[in-house]
């Protein structure tokens, strides 16, 4: 690793004027990027990390504008100030792609769906270099081979929608590398990917960087990823640089309070929360047996479908009273569908779901009629993944939380008002916010409101569908701890759906691993995390980036 600095950012400020005020997205940030190193910029949402990255390529979205500072790029023949180049014109285009390339979070929207992958890469090469078409095609194929896309010659003529998310991101990287850039800016390139795919992409980036001696500016919110790939780390908070240090120093000796808090909330999720021991004689609350949900894929001959999408393919799982059962799986594994089928958002095509209500005989939810389901809505509740879409933007907080009370109990308006304020303070919000609308709250607050709505009617089972995935890491354990407290208080059972092993390990008693609509392994959460038996579970657990740089292959002893 040479010490030669290729990019110097000095006192960079980016402002977004809105109405009469100005939001300072990036305030006075300075840092250096050296040749051949990986600098991770880490921070929570709104920290200005992405804006910083985009400012370097003059890609700040309007009405935002760079409002001061310098971005000095070493071109080999003197320094160029990118700030002075402006956002259009030949000079900045010469920098973009050629010297500095960028890859984005969402590979689906960054690639054009109407041109072949090859066409897009060849176009980039021809744009920046004077080579023949055949030569460009050869180079494009070599690039695709380099990013380990199988059969690169054929892949050139395919469209982006024929590729999986990981493949698309590889193609994106190939395109970014097509003109041998000296700096690669990666803006959360793995956030939209599954954890096993993420591991592959990370190792690919690291490998390419070593081969080519590229400098990489890697933007992420995931401390695990930082620990895996960073040489140095810059922590940002609300547009300001908090701390900059080598990766080992930062994890072992964080200097600033914010960094310590951030690391603390990450590490807290690394160890399971203390749990009371399970009783020896378990009483089930819900028992899923051979549940199936098949969607017909084509009408076939005489309207009889010949092929099915098996979203849930024979799932059996028991949830005991007071227990937290996790369901973990990658996207498309059917875990969300499973949660929704339990409440008959989708009607299952086979199997049964026995449920033991608080009073009365067990019922089969899979075949229950409308009136029967209605009586269960007060006992079995759901918490959604995205707190932005699960709260009606046109209803006040009071209206939203009181809705289940209105339909499931016969409380008076007065009683409901008292109950809602009580619930709000219970989930850690001010009790007098009932007349506000959801847009006035942050993601974490909205998720608390969703939880208040779920527990308003004293439920017995809550199906929590990725309740922490949309939240920043510092908020995750807070929400989980709240859910844990409510569990102890009300004797709740949870079916906890997540793609994130760390929250499962922190929160759950038992865990089921799903793949392609089937459960491949069920067991105690510690056992699954420490000694996974199934091959798929092993690869899943192994791919999770741990927030500990000492686990890296190149860690100093």
């Amino acid at each position: 690793m040479s010490d030669e600095t290729i990019l110097k950012v000095r006192n960079l400020s980016v402002d977004f004027p809105i109405q009469k005020s100005v939001v300072h997205a990036v305030k006075n940030v300075s840092f250096d990027l050296k040749r051949g190193e990986t600098l991770c910029v880490v921070g929570e949402s709104g920290s200005g990390k992405s804006v910083t990255a985009r400012a370097i390529l003059q890609l700040v979205a309007k009405p935002g504008a760079i409002n001061g500072g310098q971005i000095l790029l070493d071109t080999g023949s003197g320094e160029v100030d990118i700030v002075k180049l402006g956002s259009r014109g030949l000079a900045i285009r010469e920098v973009r792609g050629r010297r500095i390339a960028m890859i984005f979070q969402e590979p689906m929207t960054s690639l054009s769906p109407v041109h072949t992958i090859g066409h897009q890469i060849i176009e980039t090469i021809l744009l920046h270099e004077k080579v023949s078409k055949e030569e460009a095609r050869k180079r494009a194929a070599a690039l695709l081979g380099r990013v380990r896309i199988p059969e690169p010659e054929k892949a050139l003529d395919r469209y982006s929608f024929e590729f999986s998310g990981g493949m698309r991101q590889r193609a994106m990287i190939a395109m970014a590398l097509s003109c041998n850039p000296e700096i690669l800016i990666a803006d959360e390139p793995t956030t939209a990917l599954d954890v096993t795919t993420q591991a592959e992409i990370l190792s690919l980036i690291r490998e390419l960087q070593r081969d080519r001696g590229m400098a990489v500016l890697f933007i992420t919110h995931d401390m695990g990823v930082v620990a895996q790939i960073a040489d140095r780390v810059m922590v940002m908070f609300r547009g300001e640089k908090v701390e900059e240090a080598g990766v080992f120093d930062l994890f072992e000796r964080p200097q600033q309070a914010y960094t310590r808090a951030l690391l603390g909330s990450v590490l807290k999720l690394e160890t399971p929360a203390p749990r009371p021991p399970r009783p020896t004689a378990e009483k089930p609350i819900a028992k899923i047996e051979n549940l199936e949900l098949h969607f017909p894929l084509n009408a076939g001959f005489m309207g009889r479908p010949t092929n099915y999408l098996k979203a849930i393919d024979g799932v059996s799982l028991t949830i005991n009273q007071g227990e937290t059962v996790g369901v973990v799986g990658e996207s498309g594994s059917g875990k969300t569908t499973l949660g929704r089928t339990l409440l008959r958002v989708y009607d299952p095509t086979g199997g049964q779901v026995m449920y033991w209500p608080s009073n009365g005989e067990p019922v089969d939810i899979a075949t229950l009629n409308k009136a029967g389901m209605k009586s269960l809505y007060g006992e079995v509740r759901m918490v959604f993944q995205d707190p932005h879409s699960s709260l009606n933007p046109r209803m006040t907080i009071y209206q939203t939380i009181s809705e289940p009370l209105r339909t499931n109990t016969d409380m008076t308006e007065r009683q409901m008002m008292d109950r809602v304020s009580e619930l709000l303070s219970r989930v850690g919000l001010p009790p007098d916010i009932g007349d506000r609308y959801p847009h006035a709250f942050s993601g974490g607050q909205r998720q608390r409101i969703s939880i208040a709505r779920a527990v308003a009617v004293r439920p017995r089972l809550i199906i929590a569908d990725e309740p922490t995935s949309a939240l920043d890491v510092s908020l995750r354990h807070q929400v989980l701890d709240l859910m844990r407290d409510l569990q102890n208080e009300y004797g709740l059972s949870y079916l906890f759906i997540s793609h994130d092993i760390s929250v499962i390990r922190y929160f759950c008693d038992r865990v089921a691993v799903m793949k392609n609509g089937k459960i491949v392994e069920v067991g105690d959460v510690v056992q699954i995390c420490e000694q996974p038996q199934h091959e798929y579970t092993q690869s899943l657990i192994g791919a999770v980036p741990r927030p500990d740089p000492r686990l890296r292959a190149d860690a100093p002893q």
Partner: protein, 383 residues
């Protein structure tokens, strides 16, 4: 490399703005107004539309004359110019007036030619006494906003028509009919469209397919021949008011399809929203789910659809009446007025007969711009 992040950034900005304080407790209408008021063209259009509807509301008062008052001595009288100052033997003083006409008949063409006559000074003023009228058909009144001091004097600000009727008065009265056709017609369309579109989008399945095919069928029928047919089927001896309502119904029978489609589309997408599923899992009844949870998300879209549908109604009425198959005199609408501008003689001798056409263009443009603005602002939470 195109940027996939612009819209996300906007949402972030709204968030930050909200947390900055000003909009914390704002309701959705405040947010919509907030967004709408930044759309300059739409704001101008809003002012124009409000003015037009004010003219429609106070037509009797604003018009100098009754629309039916005719004056055979002043057929095709040209527009008069308003003079603010009068100069005579007593000097120059402020006295708004128009000049009367010297008329003579061209011996060759038998056309009546008008010249302003400086001798005939017709003083004009605001709130003058004029022809008596019944305001909104209820109150007796005789004050007019602007007119000649002596009601017997000729006063043609934008000219007269072939019977010597004041075009300004007729255009003002026409505003009421034309603009109300749009509003009432759209209300009718809205009721049909909301019900059928709502059922179609919420229920889905067979009933959705049937309604959609019906909509496609109606839209595939060429509109002018269809209107002509329907209008021709109307008995000739119906009173004008009855014809007015018949025309309304004919127009809305086609107009509802557009609104039904908008409503269906919104229902289809709303049905899958998390917050609607969440409400369903709260045990909310179907009726309450639609009225309380889904409808409020539709209001703003419906308002946008209405503002964009009104101009179509106005144009349709104008076209029908222009062809002589819509409203019949003595009812005055812009389309009826434009009938006079059908022949060559009007173009060469009395170009002012096109003024109602200008009104149509202004009203339709203003409503379209307004509709655009409302549509953009309709969903303040749009990402």
């Amino acid at each position: 490399m195109s940027a996939p992040f612009d819209t996300a950034k906007d949402a972030d900005l709204l968030d930050q703005q909200v947390h900055a304080g000003s909009l914390v407790a704002a309701s959705q209408w405040t947010l919509i107004w907030h967004k709408f008021s930044r759309h300059r063209l739409a704001m101008v259009a809003l002012v124009v539309v409000v003015l037009i509807y004010l003219v429609a509301a106070f037509a009797e008062f604003l018009a100098p004359y009754d629309p039916g008052k005719f004056d055979p001595r002043h057929t095709f009288a040209p527009p008069q110019q308003i003079h603010l100052f009068l100069t005579d033997e007593e000097g120059t003083r402020f006295a708004p007036h128009v000049l009367g006409f010297k008329s003579q008949v061209d011996p060759k063409s038998f056309r009546r030619l008008f010249q302003p006559d400086p001798e005939k000074v017709i003083p004009i003023g605001f709130f003058v006494e004029g022809q008596p009228y019944k305001f909104w058909g209820i109150w007796d009144a005789n004050r007019h906003f602007l007119g000649p001091m002596d009601k017997a004097d000729p006063f043609f600000l934008i000219g007269g028509d072939r019977l010597g009727r004041d075009l300004l008065s007729r255009t003002i009265h026409g505003t009421r009919i034309s603009m109300s056709i749009g509003l009432v017609g759209v209300t009718l369309s809205l009721i049909i469209g909301l019900i059928l579109g709502g059922i179609s989008g919420y229920r889905g399945g067979l009933i959705d397919r049937v309604i959609q095919r019906v909509i496609e069928f109606i839209r595939s029928v060429p509109t002018i021949p269809l209107w002509l047919g329907l209008a021709a089927a109307m008995p000739k001896d119906w009173p004008p008011l009855q014809i007015y309502f018949a025309i309304l119904i004919i127009l809305s029978l086609i107009g509802w399809t557009e609104i039904a489609r908008v409503v269906r589309g919104r229902f289809l997408s709303l049905r899958r929203e998390d917050f609607v599923i969440a409400a369903r899992l709260d045990g909310v009844s179907e009726f309450r789910l639609i009225m309380r949870h889904m409808m409020p998300s539709l209001y703003s879209h419906i308002i946008a659809a209405i503002t964009l549908a009104i101009p179509n109604m106005i144009l349709a009425e104008t076209a029908l009446s222009f062809l002589g198959l819509g409203l019949q005199p003595p009812i005055v609408s812009w389309g009826v007025l434009l009938q006079d501008a059908q022949n060559l003689r009007a173009i060469t001798q009395a170009p002012w007969l096109f003024v109602p056409g200008i009104c149509v263009v202004v009203a339709v443009l203003a409503l379209n711009f307004l509709g655009d603005g409302v549509r953009d602002a309709a969903d303040p939470y749009a990402k």
